[in-house]
Symmetry: C2
Subunit: 497 residues, 2 copies
């Protein structure tokens, strides 16, 4: 008897977020939905902060409408989302009522499984959303952000799993957003959770592929008892993305484990996204191989390329390795926060500032907040000198309480502001969109009626930017033409000025 | 106490063979040699049939000079080559004296480790070369070509290992040229060999990365007792190539195994080949992700793209999947031969013929020979009807003996023919070059004095093939120029005819 290992398919959320800057339009996903729905996945991840953001910022798509479409087209599937605890899908803490309403509306629109995490692994920041998920009768998955530091231990991660289960979570996810989870710790943590919390506790493992070791980590996690793993269909896998679903299925053959997925459906899904992928060429990550330097910098793969292009824009492309070396220092000062949205951006940007302008000469507001406790507690003590600088810079005192405890009720005010916006449809969903992205929502509401914008392009229609256009503009070498002028053919040589 | 796992670095042979059509020039390898030599590898694979072929066919490089250069630049390293048993580096069987002389000369020029295989796993075809390697006092590695069929079993592979050791081999290699080796059989075969032949027998594992499962297979092979694995530095890894060296090192951290490689040297090697890679853009494999359909067709990754381009040239690009489906049928008729050079080409080409012209309407000479036993014995019975066709087509009788037993002494004749060639330097090495590649050697000898040709190109100098060249050749749109003609500037409009 072999144990069936469940699979969560990432193609509709994290795969295109990691590989093509979250730009995939809903209409490019729709044709694959029937095969996805019937391939035998345990769940289909399809919603999260970046997809929500990209919908309203770039695609003129209502993210709630996208969710409802998935619900219709994937009737047999558990729909899964990634929720940033008290941050929901935004970049600040929300007052508990907003959390409750967001979860309630997501459930109402079709969400089944809520993977809830906090960037700092501060359990207080996921409490309210887990409570809300349970209240809605949905699956609450408590999430441990995996990271490596002198303070992070297997025991610590196991204790966090126990705390998450105490909050009522239906399952535990080990979330390795930067492909740092090596085979042995993968084995040890899963084993530890199963031993401490019981063999029946479902353990899901989410890994990226960037460092080239995590397929092995999945195998070892399974040998330790993991129940479900996350993969992405091969045509949108690897690099800063994930391990390929089809390879995962094949890998288990002959072992005491099996994945019960329909291979012919997988092939169809693969073929579909293989045709879609080149349409988004301009957004594709330029990391295609592996990057093991991440084990030192810990920066998620997707972020390195962001950082590189930021630095290049500032004419400091040569500083990339210096910045990567500074990241671990900043992280240490910040109490060894895991690096995941938003802490990865906060720490990464501060590292850039430190390299460009001198160590802590300039502090970003977000980094000051992180140092002062406004994102929550960190596992390690934060550097008191930097806290003092942050205090001075932000003119705020350090806090120790749950950050959301400082917030006043805000729903009614958010609602009033939203209703005043042109194009707002008066729904709570619109209020939530405004609450998440107050800078972007007003424009989105005003253009929503124009309908979705697909940023994909026919790859055969060569973009003008790709080399000099043929026969246009100034010549770049000496060319001789036969030119008819007033009925007479003359040899004309044209040379660059 | 953790066990040290040895590593063979493939960058100088199989990595660029698999990823850039074996085109890398020696001068692009030289700057990395010091780091390679001191990184701590067990051996450095650097020579084989395709590199030898590419040297004389494309690079105007003497392969023996390349070997001597490696010997000089890698004084601390075991140099390793891949040898096709009685085929040496060519595509036919050679008489034993040629085998002896080839091995002797290779050893004399600096080769240390000879990985000897036969495409059909016919032990009689590796006997002479293994004997010659032992006589030269070098390391003879007996090789099992891994493949999957109803007749191939763990027991069968273990028995082959025993036979190879009986021939005097110093180690055993499990060679998985098509990335078919899944974790469980990897474990079972290594375990089986260790149990049957003794724990002290060195087992090396060579896998490609194409299917995305073989990093896990390496882990399981190690858990079963494997001593050495083959990897390639990350900047020339994955796709139809191999698992990345740096990832392999990281993967073992915390396990009862370790790889003692110098990570800072690895980073330098990586950086070097990362700058070299784009110079060979036009030769780069277009497979970058994983291909799990190989588990059905069994065709090595590199060959699929070859086959695709062959079919496209014949205007039959739409027949690829049909051909891939025909390969297993042809292979069954041929007694379940493993698919590796040259059997992969022979079976693949026959599958193309079957699809294009009707089942066995046309037989290639090589396929007829394969069916008639002229390449050796296969594990399964060959289809008698196809043997009859081959018999009729080739006008030769089937044989059961070792193919080389039918050959008459040929060295003196080869030597005489070689000495008659313009540019031949009279050395035995030249005779061997002519013996291996009689079609190519004469031209190579005649141009050798011109020195090596580097096919790499500055990636920033946009190749002319990439879209129409700017300002060169016929215009493709209407363009208006200011042209000075006899001192007078005139507006001239040039339009495509």
């Amino acid at each position: 008897m072999s144990k069936t290992i469940d699979v969560t398919e990432l193609i509709l959320r994290d795969a295109h977020q990691s590989l093509m800057a979250t730009r995939m339009a809903l209409e490019d996903m729709v044709p694959a939905c029937e095969d996805i729905d019937n391939a035998g996945y345990w769940s289909v991840e399809c919603w999260g902060g970046a997809t929500y953001d990209a919908c309203i910022r770039f695609l003129n798509e209502d993210p709630w409408e996208r969710l409802r479409t998935f619900r219709k087209l994937l009737p047999n599937s558990r729909l899964q989302m990634l929720l940033r605890g008290q941050n929901l899908l935004g970049y600040r803490h929300y007052q508990d009522e907003v959390v409750d309403r967001f979860v309630e509306k997501s459930a109402e629109n079709g969400m089944d499984v809520f993977r809830v995490f906090d960037a700092l692994n501060d359990i207080r920041n996921v409490r309210q959303s887990i409570k809300a998920v349970k209240k809605a009768g949905k699956h609450a998955q408590g999430t441990i952000c995996y990271t490596v530091s002198p303070l992070h231990t297997v025991t610590g991660f196991v204790e966090m799993a126990e705390q998450l289960l105490d909050l009522g979570c239906d399952s535990i996810c080990i979330k390795d957003m930067a492909a740092l989870l090596k085979p042995q710790p993968a084995y040890d943590i899963v084993k530890g959770i199963k031993q401490a919390c019981g063999q029946d506790v479902r353990v899901h493992v989410h890994v990226h592929a960037t460092t080239g070791v995590t397929m092995v980590s999945l195998m070892k996690a399974i040998e330790a008892g993991a129940d479900c793993v996350d993969t992405a269909i091969s045509s949108l896998s690897l690099g800063p993305g994930h391990n390929p679903t089809e390879s995962f299925v094949e890998m288990l053959e002959g072992t005491p484990y099996k994945a019960e997925l329909d291979k012919s459906r997988l092939l169809k899904i693969k073929d579909h996204f293989a045709t879609i992928r080149p349409r988004y060429q301009e957004f594709l990550s330029n990391i295609t191989g592996v990057e093991t330097e991440i084990f030192d910098s810990q920066i998620p793969g997707g972020m390195i390329s962001n950082m590189e292009s930021q630095l290049k824009q500032q004419g400091a492309g040569d500083k990339v390795r210096e910045v990567l070396a500074e990241v671990p220092n900043v992280r240490k000062d910040a109490g060894y926060a895991p690096l995941v949205t938003p802490s990865s951006q906060i720490v990464g940007t501060q590292a850039v500032f430190n390299v460009m302008m001198g160590k802590y000469k300039v502090l970003t507001g977000e980094f000051a907040d992180l140092m002062l406790g406004y994102y929550g507690a960190t596992i390690g003590e934060r550097n008191p000198e930097v806290i003092a600088l942050a205090n001075k810079h932000a003119k705020k005192d350090p806090i120790r309480c749950r950050p959301a405890d400082l917030l006043k009720p805000e729903w009614e005010e958010l609602r009033a502001s939203t209703l005043a916006l042109k194009g707002c449809d008066g729904s709570d969903e619109d209020v939530l969109t405004y609450a998440m992205f107050p800078q972007v929502a007003p424009k989105f509401f005003s253009t929503r009626a124009e309908g979705p914008k697909n940023l994909g392009k026919d790859p055969d229609a060569k973009p003008a930017a790709d080399g000099a256009p043929a026969g246009k503009g100034p010549v770049s070498t000496t060319v001789t033409y036969d030119v008819k002028l007033n009925g007479k053919t003359t040899k004309v040589t044209v040379a660059p000025a």
